[in-house]
């Protein structure tokens, strides 16, 4: 298993260099460097407003963000020039911090449309509703759901916890190579947190990498990362092993924020 100790070997899945990003004229990311190898789980931690969610969204291709400088290579390709749907089809997945409601479209129809878009890209035959149900059945078990959530419009009337589970369900069905989790733990009670963490752990594997964006260390009690980064004021100010998360939990972010100001 690649991990913190083997960081110098293995194939780089994502390589971000000097990434500077602005939204509505404000520079949020001020030069981010990050390399994630196949099979690694990286956590990005940091105080509110540090740019964590911006990093997650810009990697997924959100149109509101402007890349000022720098690069992001995914499987050696220029990720930033790809459309959001092209990134998804290449295996990039963002679990949204605030999942969006889509009126009139059932969860089941939505997921099948998404899976079929990916299958078309891979030259595989599309799944009809019946084949899809079989795929779905196994995945639902992983997040502790029956199919009652599948005939409801996407995220409509879902509780905060249900929305987050729905993101993890999509992750399980779409089987991305790079899964970015944007504050998936926020708003979850401890049971939901454990379910989500368990589902993520089951999805870990030598070919799949994770970038977990979180404010708190509590999700990392259940998903042990290979690398922990601290993002403060638009830059990664410190990287380390899983123990860094515990240190942050004990000491807070202020000591690092000060360090960022000095540099």
């Amino acid at each position: 298993m690649p991990g913190h100790g083997t960081r110098d070997t293995g194939h780089a899945l994502l390589e971000v260099k000097g990434l500077r990003v602005a939204v509505a004229g404000n520079e949020i990311l001020k030069g981010v460097d990050l390399a994630i190898r196949e099979g690694e789980v990286h956590a990005i931690m940091g105080p509110n407003g540090s740019g964590k969610s911006t990093l997650a969204q810009v990697l997924a291709g959100h149109p509101a963000y402007t890349v000022l400088a720098g690069s992001a290579k995914y499987e050696g390709k220029d990720l930033l020039s790809m459309k959001p749907e092209e990134r998804a089809r290449a295996g990039v997945f963002l679990a949204f911090q605030y999942p969006v409601e889509i009126r009139g479209i059932t969860n089941s129809y939505f997921l099948r449309s998404a899976l079929n878009a990916l299958r078309r890209e891979r030259g595989e035959p599309e799944l009809d509703p019946i084949d899809f149900l079989q795929v779905l059945e196994q995945k639902l078990k992983a997040i502790g759901w029956d199919d009652s959530m599948m005939n409801r419009p996407v995220n409509e009337g879902f509780s905060g916890g249900e929305k987050k589970r729905n993101e993890i369900l999509q992750l399980a069905v779409l089987e991305p190579r790079l899964a970015i989790l944007d504050e998936t733990d926020s708003g979850l009670d401890i049971d939901a947190l454990k379910t989500v963490a368990h589902a993520v752990n089951q999805l870990r594997g030598p070919k799949r990498s994770f970038l977990i964006v979180t404010h708190y260390q509590r999700l990392l009690n259940h998903i042990t990362p290979d690398v922990v980064h601290v993002l403060a004021d638009g830059r990664i100010v410190k990287s380390g092993g899983p123990e860094l998360a515990h240190e942050l939990e004990a000491k807070g972010y202020d000591w690092l924020r000060d360090a960022a100001m000095v540099s």
Partner: protein, 429 residues
């Protein structure tokens, strides 16, 4: 006003001729209707209820009363408009009943003219009782020409399992007007499902001016579906008026795809306590189409519940108008009323007007309303794209969802499937 005079003249000629055999009470009803229409004339945009809709193409046009069609269509001709070929159905062409295409049931599911001639006792107490004409010129005009249309009577405690199809076809003859008049009586604890469809075999322009009264007895339930898919050159003016007794349920679904100019007045009176109403509508317009839905839900009794959902999908230069008036009468305590109107603008030239009007005269009630007008939600668009769905498909999917939200509330699977197909075809175009 020349055109008002022309219509009154054509009424006089008709009343003296073909319609002279009617019973006295019906003649009186007609005379009342034409007098009212003559007084009111056509509505204009200075009137509150017509602020956003000009009827100039109708008022300034010249329309002859439709004549009996020269040729009776074959079943093959009307098949595209039938959901199924079993069950009861009444078919009309340019307002004239087509017995050879219809499957009536004694005097209970029959042409109105037939029932007036044979069982006027079933009709007399209801016809013209529910659809107001005081300030409704089109309804008054229809009442002047009351003669033919669909009659449905479901006796107490009876259930008609398969939906009854009422099909109003236009031949496409130019500059003609028909005034279909429908009466639906669902007696105490009875149950029925009805699909009323307006469609055309030709282009027109022609004008349909219909009125449908639906009276629902104590503990009864009706699922009423109305599909307007007239020719895109047609003018369609209609009133649907329901009247509910105690503990009754009405699900009224309406879909408007067609006509150059369409105005649909929907009125629902909840006259007895414990009633439930779902008013569920969709308008899907493109080109220069204009559709105006004017709804009035009248909570006249306590402990009633009404849920109103209207979605509009407006493309190109089309315009959608929605007025949702809710009246809660004094004493209508524990009213629970919810109204939403959402309009999706697919082009910068499309336009929607949405006006809720709440008039609440009771204090222990729950009334909510919400309306939106705007383009596709960019957040949802990104969400779909981030899952691998291409931009064009994502837009189509979201637009479809807007329509599917309304269609999904309909219980008749064959109708849902047919409307679904029409929506998909329109979105693919």
């Amino acid at each position: 006003m020349a055109h008002v005079e022309q219509l009154v003249g054509s009424y006089r000629a008709w009343a003296a001729n073909g319609a002279s055999g009617a019973p006295g009470w019906l003649k009186d009803l007609r005379e009342g209707g034409i007098a009212r229409f003559h007084d009111l004339g056509f509505p204009n945009m200075k009137q509150e209820a017509w602020r956003f809709t000009s009827v100039a193409p109708i008022a300034e046009g010249s329309f002859e009363l439709a004549q009996p069609p020269a040729r009776t269509p074959k079943l093959d001709d009307i098949r595209p408009f039938l959901l199924f070929e079993t069950g009861y159905r009444l078919v009309f062409l340019d307002g004239f009943f087509q017995p050879s295409l219809s499957t009536p049931f004694f005097d209970d599911i029959q042409s109105l003219a037939h029932v007036v001639a044979h069982r006027q006792d079933l009709v007399r107490q209801h016809l013209g009782t529910y659809a107001a004409t005081q300030d409704r010129p089109f309804s008054a005009l229809n009442t002047a020409f009351v003669h033919e249309g669909a009659f449905v009577h479901v006796p107490a405690k009876a259930t008609i399992a398969e939906p009854i199809q009422l099909l109003f076809l236009a031949s496409g003859a130019k500059q003609v007007v028909s005034h279909p008049r429908n009466l639906v009586v669902i007696e105490r604890e009875a149950r029925a499902s009805i699909v009323e469809t307006y469609a055309s075999l030709g282009q027109g322009p022609y004008w349909t001016n219909s009125v449908t009264e639906v009276v629902v007895g104590e503990g009864a339930r009706v699922d009423y579906h109305r599909v307007q898919r007239e020719s895109e050159r047609a003018y369609h003016v209609a009133t649907t008026q329901t009247h509910q007794g105690r503990d009754s349920t009405v699900h009224l679904h309406t879909v408007a795809f067609g006509a150059a100019l369409a105005r649909h007045d929907i009125g629902a009176v909840m006259a007895g306590p414990g009633g439930t109403l779902i008013l569920n509508g969709l308008y899907l317009l493109a080109g220069q189409q204009h559709a105006d839905h004017h709804t009035t839900i009248d909570h006249a009794a306590d402990h009633c519940e009404s849920h109103e959902y209207f979605n509009g999908v407006l493309d190109e230069k089309s315009r959608g108008v929605f007025t949702g008036r809710i009246i809660v009468r004094p004493g209508a305590q524990k009213t629970d009323s919810k109204q939403t109107n959402n309009n999706l603008l697919l082009s910068t030239d499309a336009h929607a007007d949405s006006q809720p009007q709440l008039e609440i005269y009771a204090d222990d009630v729950k009334c909510t309303h919400g309306s939106t007008v705007g383009p596709l939600d960019p957040r949802a668009l990104f969400y779909l794209r981030s899952r691998g769905v291409g931009e064009a498909e994502a837009r189509r999917l979201m637009t479809y969802g807007f329509a599917a939200e309304i269609l999904g509330r309909m219980d008749v699977a064959a109708l849902r499937a047919e409307l679904d197909r029409i929506v998909r075809d329109r979105l693919a175009a």
